[in-house]
Structures are given as structure tokens and as C-alpha cells.
Symmetry: C3
Subunit: 198 residues, 3 copies
């Protein structure tokens, strides 16, 4: 469930960026699908299970439908850049939580599970940005991957304490979403190197 919701919001974020770049119908669907399924495919390759994106038709179907909705409805999306960032933050939260939970469930140690959760969360957006020659969102100033990692650690702690029920996992997702949005709003960022570099 969380997984399919993540697919939908990441497909919409990728589709919206592709629309902003003036791609055609199939370009929009393609970027939407890559953004939506990229992180989960990476996750499944790493934990060595058949990528659900290819075994369950609802995944690509959700991604295609969400991309096409953005293609047709985008004129109603005012300030698309802001919408893209919101959708992206929601996808980051959803995929981080499901990626971390699934990795722990198949026996990955805690540190690795957090990294895989982060990879699931940032993978689709990274593929989207590489494809469209954008500066990867993960390298921009405001906190992004760190929000994901903090949320993944929260999930690992919940699981360790044996209190990882749906309500608590949703809280972890809200934590990621909130940290990311506040970071965007307040332009939070990490410190930069002390001098001008080489």
C-alpha cells in the first residue's frame, strides 16, 4: 500500500518535471515510470528478490496512470516546481519507510537496512535527475538524503523495540516529510567546507 502510494507520487513528480522540460506524452510517461520504479528496483536487486515492479503489473500501471494524469492536468498545477517538491518529499518518506521495513524483514543488519531504505527513497529521484540532466536533488543544499536516513533510523529503532505497527511507521514517514519540508522552507543545509577549496 505505502509502496503503491509512493509509486504514484514519484511518478507524478517525475511526470511534472518532464512536462516542465517540454517532453512529449511518452517522454513524460517514461520519466514518470523511471522515477516511480527506480528506487524499488534498486532495493529489490540489492536484497535479491525479484523486482516487484516487473512481477506485479499494478506497479507500472499505477506509474503510467499517475504520469498521464499529470500530463493532462498540469495546467491546473500552479507553481509546478513547488508541487514537484511536495510530491518528491512524500515519495521520499513513503519509500524510505517501506524500503527499510522490507530490508529488515529479509534479515539485512540495521545499518545496511537504513542505507537500503535511503537508496529506495532517493533512487527514483536520482534516476529522474540524471535522465533529465538536472543537478541531483540529493546534492542540492537543503537537507534531503539526511531526512531519509533519520527516518530510516527511526524505523530501525521501532523494529528493534518491537513497536513497528502501522501507526508508528506512518509517524516515521511524517517525520521524514516534515524534516524535508521544513528544510526547504527555512533553507536548512549542512555546513560547507571551511575555505574556497582547491
Amino acid at each position: 500500500m505505502g509502496d503503491l502510494a509512493g509509486v504514484a507520487v514519484f511518478a507524478a513528480s517525475g511526470g511534472a518535471l518532464a512536462v516542465a522540460k517540454r517532453l512529449d506524452l511518452f517522454g513524460v510517461a517514461f520519466v514518470g515510470v523511471v522515477s516511480a520504479l527506480g528506487g524499488g528496483i534498486l532495493r529489490d536487486l540489492v536484497i535479491d528478490r525479484p523486482p516487484v515492479a516487473f512481477w506485479d503489473w499494478r506497479y507500472p500501471a499505477t506509474a503510467v496512470v499517475a504520469s498521464l494524469l499529470v500530463f493532462w492536468w498540469h495546467p491546473w498545477m500552479q507553481r509546478a516546481r513547488r508541487v514537484i517538491l511536495l510530491l518528491d518529499a512524500a515519495g521520499l518518506a513513503l519509500f524510505t519507510v517501506t524500503g527499510t521495513t522490507i530490508s529488515l524483514a529479509v534479515g539485512v543488519p540495521a545499518v545496511g537496512a537504513c542505507l537500503i531504505g535511503m537508496l529506495t527513497g532517493i533512487g527514483g529521484g536520482l534516476a529522474r535527475d540524471l535522465l533529465l540532466s538536472e543537478i541531483p536533488v540529493v546534492l542540492r543544499r537543503e537537507i534531503y538524503a539526511l531526512a531519509s536516513l533519520v527516518g530510516a533510523a527511526a524505523v530501525a529503532i521501532l523494529v528493534r523495540l518491537d513497536v513497528a505497527n502501522i501507526a508508528n511507521l506512518i509517524l516515521a514517514g511524517v517525520l521524514i516529510f516534515a524534516v524535508r519540508l521544513v528544510a526547504l522552507q527555512r533553507r536548512w543545509s549542512a555546513p560547507t567546507p571551511r575555505d574556497g577549496g582547491p
Copy 2:
């Protein structure tokens, strides 16, 4: 067979682009090998079998030889851009058909098998374009990934109807090749977003 022919034409397409970018001998061979083996390695990772590119030396050998032939013979290739597009279309057709067939054979459901077939077809060219900082061919205006997807669907239907003999599979490949070339010729493309976007 179809697989090794796809390796040769994709290596030639990658090598020709690398020559056009003035890379040296090893750069040309490297880009040729990545273009030729990238799609198949992705396919094998996704269906979880040992990537044939590393287990069967004929794959890298074919890729290296084809790249080097392009390196030495390229002055005879007039209008290289056109040759690259032709080779690329042939590789797209061959890899899509073999990728879809193999995926169905290992039990991937039809929708997923078509996606893996498309991924096999477009993977090498995508890696080539990312490596050389070209706009990915898959995102350019003329129909490309869609040609692959249509051919993959044709293969899936042939298999479902139990008539997937060599002759019919070749027909599916010719379909992909023809759709791609006609799209290039007539500048077919999908519709674009309704207004100027955000």
C-alpha cells in the same frame, strides 16, 4: 544468435558515437562494450540469472571487435549520424525480442516481460548516452521506447498464442525496426503538453 547480433550492432552504434566525439581507441572500445552489454546485463540482473556478458566470452569479444572495426573503418561510414541511428534501431529490435522472450521463458508475467524486453532494448543506448552526455535517445521526440514496447507486446501475444517460432519472432523484430525508422523519417512523435508548462 539474435543476442550476439544485437551486441554487434549496438557496439557499432556506441563506437561510432564515440568516434564522432573524438575519443581514443580505448574510449571507443569502452563505449562500444557498454552500449552492447549494458541492456543484457540489466536484463540478467532483473531476472536474477548470471549476466551472460560475464559468463560467455563471446559477448565481450564480439563487442570489442565490432567497436574496433568502427574505429578503423569509420572514414568509409558516410553520414555517420544516419548509420548510428540505423544500427541503434537494429539493436533495439534484436534486444527487445530476445529480452522479452527470455523473460517470458523464466516465468515473468506478460506486462513485466514487456517492460524487461524494452529495458533490454533501450538499456545499452541509455548507458551510452549518459556516458557521453548526450540527451538520451529515449527522451528525444521521435518514437523510440514505444516502438520497442509495441514489439515486446507482439512477442508476448505470439508466445501466449503458442506461435512464437523463429519466423514470427523475426517479424516482431522487423516491426520494431520499421516503426522506429518510419518514425525517424516522418518525424513521428507523441503529443506534447497542451500549453507552455509551468
Copy 3:
């Protein structure tokens, strides 16, 4: 051991490039981790074993620590570009040797094992350069991937002759490091296409 040393030097090379690009603390750590773990993750996916980077916390920990040391100490690194090239050459040597050895040990044929060794060696640097929109080091003029391939072939021959002890493997690594550094110093490169290309 060689593997963790490779992680440290590649993390430092990635971190130093990220510092030179004025990324912030987490950007530097992120690029360092990707550079350090990218090649090994690729290798483990291809030989189908659980990526050690996610199963053994010492790998990401080493990468993070090495990146942070570069972040804080970089003012002492004079002429960072030269330091990056040195670290990169050391990582190339270490990862090529461990990648080839591991691949042979799990039964990959010699040609494939050399390719996987090369992929392990160049994978992290390639990911780093794609992420930072640098021209991939592997496509620049001076011999790079070829040095890796020559060393991988040396390892394969040592293993075939049954003399692949630690001392000999270190020699193979030194060979790669030396070829790369001499190539940089003397601007060795492969021949370029005969005329201006198309």
C-alpha cells in the same frame, strides 16, 4: 582488507572532488560513500551475492569517516586535483585486484572475471563523475580502464598458475597503480581516430 583500504581511498577521492565542487557536509559524505561503495555493489550484484556494503557496517562506516576527514582536513591538501588522482589510482588498483580475485573464486570464467574486476575498479569513480557531471575519468585521454584490465589479466594469470599469494596480488595492484601514474605523468594515451570523424 584490500577491500576496506579501497573503500577508504575512493571515499577520500570522491569527498575531495565534492569539496572542490563546494558541496556541503552531507553532499561530501554522500559522494564519498557512492564513490567508495559503488564499484563493490555492482560487483556483488553481478556475481549474485548480498552486497557486502549493506551487510557489513564497517564498509559504510569507513567511507563516511574517510569522507569527513577530507571535509575537515582539505585545507591541508595542497593541489587537491593531484591528490584526487593519486587516491583514485590507488582505489582503482585495490578494487581491481579484489574484484577479479573474488569473481574467480565464485567461478566466473577468466574473461568475465577480468571485466568484473575492471568494473569494480572503475564503477565508483564512474558513479562519482556521473553524479557530479564531470567527464567520466574512464573516457579521458590518459590510460585508465586499460591499466585496470591489464592488472586484472595479471591476477587471472597468477590464479591460473596457482601462485596468487598475497605478495603477488600486491604486485599486480602496484602494476595497475604504476601504469596509471606513468600514463598521467607522460600523458600516455591510446591512438585517436584517423580523421576528424563525421
